[in-house]
């Protein structure tokens, strides 16, 4: 009988870290380290003149890797669509993207597969993964998410749309549009609406501008819409919350609002110095959780950090040897059917 069952469940088994299991924890750890080292390398490049502006996601690894690993990855409406922003590197790496491609975008070399040297680093566009073009315009991804959400609401599939962005951006009307459209009675949308709350918009403290107790409280407007706020610096909590939220959206074909509280470990961007800030570090938290449970020894982690650093060194060497784009590459990709012969191309007379 149930009571027996419950009591038979050992405290160990109830522990969310043990539930995840050693293999998965090591996998997650490796990806978090990869993401962290990548961002730190990008910062170095930005400061060292090997590229320009940096913006990225150090601090969000626990939540973002947990998300990336649970995405139904692929192309087309039968796979999840992702509408991301500029702090999403760990999501994309967890899905299988290669760090070298981010180095390419940072150095804006011709081989940058995401933008041909046109966009800032961490502005992804990966058709094979349904990762739609990351736009620098804050919050517009919450409006474009409506469209892939509609396509998936029409299709017979369990695939969903996932949108993420920051806390300050929720002041924009696009966040409102996403909530209203996702809850349309005639066609609710299967969208996991994520807000990563790091407490800041550049230099502006969230609590000075936002009267909501939790950003997830916006779900209260819609009867039955789930809204939840979690600690996004904790792998187990993030994994569990994402598992629950994704399961809900896949099954019910309705929206779910998930707020993850995360650290912003190097400040806003290179414009604000990109120096390490004393905030909770999701990787330290994971490592101590694993060691304290005897799942791993410090030496295991050392190997990972070292291996990932070496791989990054090699990738960086490779990228330095790659050519920059030609000026007139600007004329590629203007129109899908090519540039019309009489299109003005001189920049004036």
């Amino acid at each position: 009988m149930p009571s027996a069952k419950t009591s038979s469940e050992s405290p160990q088994a109830a522990d969310p870290y043990r539930k995840l299991g050693a293999a998965k924890l090591f996998k997650i750890h490796e990806l978090m380290v990869r993401a962290r080292l990548l961002e730190e390398r990008l910062i170095k490049m930005s400061k060292g003149g090997d590229g320009f502006f940096w913006i990225g996601g150090p601090g969000e690894e626990a939540f973002n890797v947990s998300l990336g690993l649970q995405v139904k990855k692929g192309r087309g409406v039968d796979h999840d669509f992702l509408h991301l922003h500029y702090r999403s590197s760990a999501i994309v790496l967890a899905m299988g993207a290669q760090p070298i491609d981010s180095l390419r975008q940072m150095r804006s070399v011709a081989t940058d597969p995401y933008s041909k040297g046109r966009s800032f680093v961490n502005h992804y566009a990966i058709a094979e993964f349904n990762i739609v073009p990351v736009s620098p315009t804050i919050e517009t991804q919450y409006s474009t998410a409506i469209g892939t959400g509609i396509a998936q609401a029409r299709a017979k599939t369990d695939a969903v749309t996932i949108v993420n962005g920051g806390d300050a951006g929720t002041a924009e009307g696009d966040f409102h549009s996403c909530l209203v459209w996702a809850n349309r009675p005639v066609l609710p949308l299967p969208i996991l609406i994520i807000v990563v709350n790091n407490g800041w918009g550049i230099s502006t403290k969230g609590e000075t501008q936002h009267g909501e107790r939790n950003i997830s409280d916006w779900a209260k407007v819609f009867p039955g819409m789930p809204g939840k706020t979690i600690n996004g610096n904790d792998v187990a909590e993030s994994w569990g919350a994402l598992e629950e939220a994704l399961a809900y959206v896949r099954k019910n074909r309705k929206p779910y609002l998930l707020e993850a509280r995360c650290s912003r470990l190097y400040g806003h961007s290179s414009s604000s110095g990109a120096n390490r800030i004393p905030e909770a570090d999701s990787i330290e938290i994971l490592e101590s959780a694993m060691t304290s449970r005897g799942i791993a020894a410090p030496s295991d982690f050392a190997k990972v950090w070292e291996r990932e650093a070496r791989a990054l060194d090699e990738a960086h060497q490779q990228v330095k040897s790659e050519p920059f784009p030609e000026g007139d590459s600007a004329w590629q990709d203007v129109f899908a059917d090519g540039l019309p012969p009489s299109y003005p191309v001189k920049g004036g007379s």
Binding site: S115, T137, T144, G147, A151, W181, Q332, D333
Partner: protein, 352 residues
């Protein structure tokens, strides 16, 4: 003959039947109304959206990225100015993604003045539209061109902004649309929704065919040899009338070029005609400061300065903060037939 609203409706029907259009949406686009100008009446895939232009364009972008060919409407171009940023995303997505993401969507919206629309149902949009680089922009002045351009717009893998001249949406065409019944009453019976209760109404569609007007190709609506008029939209039929009257009166041979597409525009057609006539006026109804016609004049100066027999002209709207409801004031602000007559008259009379 079908009017422009009916022509667009038939093209959209053809699109949902044969070209994979699965979503036609916007404010009051679906039943019962079928669009404030009836351009989406009776369609299978048309639906009403929330009152939210940003959501509408965002939805179109997402649908295009998901492999669809959405047709979204902004109810009046006057209400498009809260979502220019997302139209820019539609235009630059292919470029910013290194050619990885195409954006096959159509945004259609009524444009221009001439319906006593006052400050917010009279706007033109050519200037901003032609700066959404990566976006194609069309603006028909006849029903058949509207039909052919809409089919081309749907087929295009690029985003297309389809500007519908408000004043011409109810104007009847002079040519039958391929498949259109000869008797317009029959067409009316078949595809126009009845007044009152439409619950049970279903349209009967004629057998339509795949008729395309190539995006980027102008139409010479009136051939001539002494002067060229380059125009589009609401001003096109007016320029045509004036050219016909001048010819009938033996007062001048004016070639009228109806651009139909603004981006890309048919530069070869303009250049060829101006080389022939040496005289040209650009006529549109948007305000005169930073006007698309001024771009064409500048390019003409670059390439044909020494072939011009007279200085090129622009006829456009006056740069007031808005267009007034009062007919006397609207006609003062917006170019009218008498203005076209005056400008063409001066152009023909200008000593070489």
């Amino acid at each position: 003959m079908a009017n422009m609203a009916q022509a667009i409706r038939m093209a959209l029907h053809y699109g949902e039947q044969h070209l994979g259009v699965t979503e036609i949406f916007g404010e009051d686009v679906g039943p019962p109304l079928g669009g404030v100008f009836t351009a989406t009446q009776g369609l299978e895939r048309s639906w009403n959206s929330p009152l939210d232009e940003r959501g509408i364009i965002g939805a179109a972008l997402g649908l295009a990225w998901a492999g669809g060919r959405p047709v979204a409407e902004i109810q009046f171009v006057d209400y498009i100015f809260n979502v220019i940023d997302m139209l820019k995303l539609a235009g630059n997505g292919y470029w910013s993604s290194a050619g990885r993401f195409k954006t096959p969507l159509v945004v259609m919206t009524p444009t221009g003045s001439g319906i006593h629309g006052s400050m917010y149902h009279s706007h033109s949009f050519d200037s901003v539209a032609t700066k959404l680089h990566g976006m194609k922009v069309v603006c028909p002045s006849t029903a058949i061109d509207a039909y052919g351009l809409m089919i081309s717009a749907i087929k295009s893998d690029d985003p297309v902004l389809f500007l519908k001249p408000k004043a011409l949406l109810r104007a009847k065409g002079a040519e039958l649309i391929p498949g259109e019944p000869a008797d317009e009453k029959v067409l009316h019976e078949m595809i126009d929704a009845p007044l009152g209760d439409r619950e049970k109404w279903k349209p009967r569609w004629p057998e339509l065919t795949d008729y395309c007007v190539e995006i980027g190709k102008a139409r010479i609506s009136h051939p001539g040899s002494e002067a060229t008029v380059v125009t589009h939209g609401r001003m096109a039929p007016i320029c045509l009338e004036v050219a016909q009257a001048l010819k009938a009166a033996g007062k001048g041979s004016v070639e009228v070029i109806d651009l139909r597409s603004l981006i890309p525009y048919d530069w070869d057609a303009i250049k060829t005609s101006v080389r022939k006539t040496g005289r040209v006026a650009f006529v549109n109804e948007e305000t005169e400061i930073t006007n698309f016609g001024e771009h064409l004049i500048r390019r003409l100066i670059d390439e044909c300065f020494y072939e011009l027999a007279a200085r090129p002209r622009l006829l456009a709207g006056k740069a007031t903060p808005g267009i007034a409801l009062s007919p006397s004031v609207e006609s003062f602000i917006q170019p009218q037939k008498t203005d076209v007559e005056r400008v063409i008259g001066e152009l023909l009379a200008d000593p070489a």
